[in-house]
Symmetry: C2
């Protein structure tokens, strides 16, 4: 007889909330990004997922709404990229599936690497009004990750929908985390079902 | 002090498992799709989410692995499109974040409408080897949904990654469900934060 789970639950790493409490509200994008990249580094060192982190901030006052990290290998679900996790937590916390539902308050998604095709497509639905990124698509590919079938001019696709994009903030710090993950032989999962531990 | 949920959980509608038990294994794509479109119709009639359903089948013998429906408005999380839900359940059930991890068994994603930009980008990561669709992007747009910044030739982007695509199966049945949703004044949520109940 057919049966399937009637609910799906995923967890965040135990270290994450304490780490997040170290954040002091700032509207400085490099400071926000240093905090997010720090979480991606900790996710690697604690082996609690892939080398990616993302957070939702109130764009006006820098308040942290949610912090997410990649949980693909640790939760066994491919959609749990850091951006998706950060969006889901923020929406649950604020009680709305559209973070743009109140036009008086704008939210930013700050992510340690430029989004893959999935997270890119998820951004308009999330309701954020700004996306801030650090490491490049090419940096993710350099360690073996595939960014997927993303339109060439992905920035224009967001700007057309009223979402501002700022790239290359603390780019080198984020790139170092990707390299660290490779040095630590972290799992590289990608589109073609090749599930390699890097040499 | 900063605080956020340490886990996120979402549920499926109560009616869904019983509905899924009515499925008799078949490799006929129209029969698989009729079952999936039936779930999207039930999701509308029961007001348990948007007018979309998706399922994962074993491609060789037609066994149903998971059935998902859209839960965006009912769970308050924008990423809970039917395809994402079906993928997450299948991966949890089979115990792997890559449904293609065993090359001997291929899985299909059968979805009642062509995927939006997010679900499109999620397909390569899911590990499915085939995607089967019913209603068109244009049908979703016709009732007010935005499919997002999806590459023009989305089918080629999947085929390049070894994922077969079959479109237009039971297309008219699926289109009727979209129209029914509009007639019932279902919520149309989209990229620009317009959260309208249709006239």
């Amino acid at each position: 007889m057919f049966t399937q789970p009637s609910n799906i639950s995923f967890t965040l790493p135990g270290w994450l909330e304490e780490y997040a409490r170290g954040y002091r509200a700032t509207t400085s994008l490099p400071e926000q990004m240093a905090f997010v990249v720090g979480a991606s580094r900790k996710n690697v060192l604690e082996k609690s997922g892939g080398p990616f982190a993302a957070a939702i901030f109130n764009s006006d006052n820098g308040e942290l709404i949610s912090l997410g990290v990649n949980r693909v290998t640790t939760e066994g679900i491919s959609i749990l990229h850091a951006e998706m996790v950060a969006v889901a937590i923020a929406q649950r916390k604020l009680g709305h599936y559209d973070l743009g539902h109140d036009p008086a308050t704008g939210y930013s998604l700050v992510t340690s690497t430029e989004p893959c095709a999935m997270c890119y497509g998820a951004i308009p639905w999330s309701g954020v009004r700004r996306v801030v990124t650090a490491a490049r698509d090419s940096d993710a590919r350099a360690v073996g990750f595939d960014e997927g079938p993303k339109p060439g001019d992905w920035i224009a696709g967001l700007e057309k929908r009223g979402i501002g994009v700022v790239t290359g903030i603390e780019e080198e710090k984020a790139r170092e985390v990707l390299r660290l993950y490779r040095q630590m032989h972290g799992k590289i999962y990608n589109a073609r079902g090749r599930d390699n531990v890097n040499p």
